[in-house]
């Protein structure tokens, strides 16, 4: 059987083999992503069952409950922690990524960044408890050296939550930053300087626009999971660091109000999705489009010309 190139070019059209190849991932997406989402949407409009679960009586009670000021307080708390921890993470990750990209021992440094992934996430949180706890390593050290008379309470507050969150998500920010900066051609900075830019000007006008894809990816890879953090505030947080993730879990397991938990999840999902889309639009980037290549604004006329050239090339 001989397929004409013209047909191959129109992959994705009805009846083309593209649809067949896409079927497994379509199935996967439907069963493991869309279906659960649909269940959450549905549950949020139903009445809570007596011991969890739902009763099939439609109501807007869950959304009314969200209007409750305690929900607003937790949301605010979550935003503060997420913004703070993301900011700190980025401030550490940018110089780290830069240093790694410029270093002659990149493989070693990459290994160091990835070593934490070899240990389970929860175990690493417990390691922090072992370090920061009242009878932990740090307190032992302080008391042994006489710097403190009795153990200092490091854990169970917002600071501890932020610290552990930053620790956890730092590699996720460093890696995309490293890979974009590594691809950056540093002679561009010299070219900018040569053409009259100051040091800061060269960074602002040439380095940042070229690595903004990496910065955005790093931001999203940290902000989104931190916004939905659950285990960290549960294990090292206190009342002042109760976050939306904890609220959802408690509604689900303690209050057994599944519709409310669903409604909160849905609101978070919607808000983060909107935020991400807005950010992407503002930057004109794709989330995983690392290098900054392929992010150039292409004027309409010339993109049409390029398309034309492709079409000609394709029909040969």
């Amino acid at each position: 059987m001989k397929r004409s190139p013209g047909r191959a070019g129109a992959a994705g059209g009805a009846g083309s083999p593209g649809g067949l190849y896409a079927a497994p991932s379509l199935f996967w997406l439907t069963v493991f992503f869309l279906a659960p989402l649909a269940i959450i949407v549905a549950y949020s409009f139903l009445t809570p069952g007596p011991r969890g679960g739902v009763e099939w009586k439609p109501t807007l009670d869950a959304y009314r409950a969200i209007a409750n000021p305690s929900f607003a307080r937790v949301t605010l708390n979550t935003i503060v922690v997420a913004i703070g921890a993301t900011a700190v993470t980025m401030l550490i990750a940018v110089p780290c990524g830069y240093y790694m990209a410029r270093s002659s021992r990149q493989t070693l440094l990459l290994m160091l960044v990835m070593i934490p992934f070899w240990t389970n996430f929860l175990i690493r949180i417990y390691a922090w408890i072992a370090i920061l706890g009242n009878e932990g390593f740090l307190n032992d050290l302080l008391i042994a050296t006489g710097l403190a008379r009795q153990s200092v309470r490091f854990l169970y507050n917002r600071g501890a939550v932020m610290l552990v969150l930053v620790y956890t998500y730092l590699p996720y920010a460093i890696l995309p930053l490293y890979s974009t900066i590594d691809k950056f051609d540093f002679s561009l900075l010299e070219a900018a300087r040569d053409l009259g830019a100051s040091k800061l000007g060269a960074i602002n006008k040439v380095l940042l626009p070229n690595i903004k894809g990496g910065i955005l990816t790093a931001f999203l890879f940290t902000f989104i999971p931190i916004f939905g953090a659950y285990a960290v505030p549960l294990l090292v947080g206190g009342t002042d660091s109760y976050m939306l993730g904890n609220l959802i879990a408690d509604e689900l397991t303690k209050s057994r109000d599944w519709p409310l938990a669903s409604a909160i999840s849905l609101v978070i999902t919607l808000v983060t999705t909107m935020g991400v889309l807005l950010l992407l639009r503002a930057n004109g980037t794709s989330v995983l489009g690392g290098s900054g290549d392929g992010e150039k604004p292409v004027p309409e006329a010339s993109s049409a010309a390029a398309y034309g050239a492709q079409a000609i090339g394709g029909s040969r």
Binding site: E190, S198, N210, G292, S302
Partner: protein
């Protein structure tokens, strides 16, 4: 004529390694000056010192008489066309050219006028909206040059800008670049390892080897009167004969080749008897079947190994009897030698005044053996 660029005794050390060693040059306003040397001889290092990206370990660099030692790269009135061009990929052509003008804080209408004027000048009018990856190699080249020229620098530095182009385009761009320089009248300092580029384009050429300048001169001077063995070999084509210098009874010198054959030498060389020398004869100085009238001719019988036909640039490859080396002989396309075939026997000869010789100790890095 005003001196645009003056480099005095400049040295650059990286640790113990001396990349540029006591180099001096001066370039008059509006001239095309080339620095020619093999890979790794320190050309880029010298250019980067002029542009301000390296600080010299010794010596001074002056632009229009002003010492540049403590001047930042962005404040120097020179611009550099980078070896890899370093065009900004996230900006279109217009923005690339406008970059320097914007840094100077010029107004948009003035910028537009200058950028469009320069696009016209480099033969790419209306290309402003294109992105860099939509340009061909030669077009990128021109944009990189336009981006610098728009700032009207005292000196434009070019670091092997044609290196990345294919041979055909390079031939073309050589001529283009020379024409452009003549048009705009900016002083060019051009780096290359391609001697033909340097010869075709330059008013003056400095030949560099292992961090030092071997000779500075016009292309003609370098070609006809090389100052060192290195220059004789690097600039243009040359036949090299290893010989030992001997003194004859009248105090003159002759060179004795390995097979015992003696060659007359003639010219103002620094000669001493008993030392090993390299004797250089250009292919076009070698005459096929010469009329043996002149005393000063070195003549020898030889076997033709091959005919290298290349139009006006055709050559014969011959091995003189008893020679280990092959000689390249210019083959004029005047029909006179059309009968010569590979394997034929010919006589070849050269005028003693047309050969140059240098002591073998002159060699440093560059050797083709």
């Amino acid at each position: 004529m005003q001196i645009a660029l003056s480099v005095k005794n400049v040295t650059k050390r990286f640790g113990d390694f001396v990349a540029v060693d006591d180099v001096s040059l001066s370039v008059e306003d509006g001239k095309f000056f080339s620095i020619l040397g093999p890979s790794g001889c320190g050309k880029t290092t010298l250019l980067r010192m002029i542009a301000g990206f390296y600080e010299q370990s010794g010596g001074t660099i002056e632009l229009r008489g002003q010492d540049m030692t403590d001047v930042e790269p962005n404040k120097r009135p020179v611009n550099l066309v980078f070896q890899n061009l370093a065009l900004f990929p996230m900006m279109n052509v217009y923005e690339n050219i406008a970059f320097g003008l914007r840094r100077r804080g010029e107004k948009s209408p003035a910028i537009a006028k200058k950028v469009n004027g320069l696009l016209e000048r480099v033969g790419l009018p209306g290309a402003g909206k294109k992105t860099i990856d939509q340009l061909s190699g030669g077009q990128r080249q021109r944009i990189a040059i336009a981006r610098c020229l728009v700032l009207d620098p005292t000196v434009l530095l070019l670091d092997e800008p044609l290196g990345a182009l294919d041979a055909k385009l390079r031939e073309h761009m050589k001529v283009e670049l020379k024409k452009l320089q003549a048009q705009v009248g900016t002083t060019f300092v051009y780096i290359t390892h391609d001697q033909s580029e340097a010869m075709v384009m330059s008013d003056a050429v400095a030949v560099m080897n292992a961090g030092r300048f071997e000779q500075i001169g016009t292309p003609q001077e370098l070609y006809h009167n090389p100052a060192s063995s290195f220059v004789a070999q690097f600039v243009g084509n040359n036949n090299k004969l290893r010989a030992v210098m001997h003194k004859d009874e009248r105090g003159g010198f002759f060179a004795r080749y390995g097979n015992g054959m003696d060659f007359k030498v003639d010219g103002a060389f620094d000669l001493s008897g008993g030392d090993a020398y390299d004797l250089f004869v250009r292919p076009e100085s070698l005459v096929i079947n010469p009329v043996e009238a002149k005393q000063e001719l070195n003549v020898m019988p030889a076997a033709v190994k091959a005919i290298l036909f290349d139009g006006g640039n055709s050559r014969l490859l011959v091995t003189p009897d008893g020679f280990a080396d092959e000689l390249v002989v210019a083959l004029p396309q005047t029909k006179q030698f059309d009968h010569i075939r590979a394997g034929d026997r010919v006589r070849i000869g050269w005028d003693a005044s047309k050969s140059v010789c240098f002591k073998r100790a002159d060699w440093k890095i560059y050797d083709d053996e």
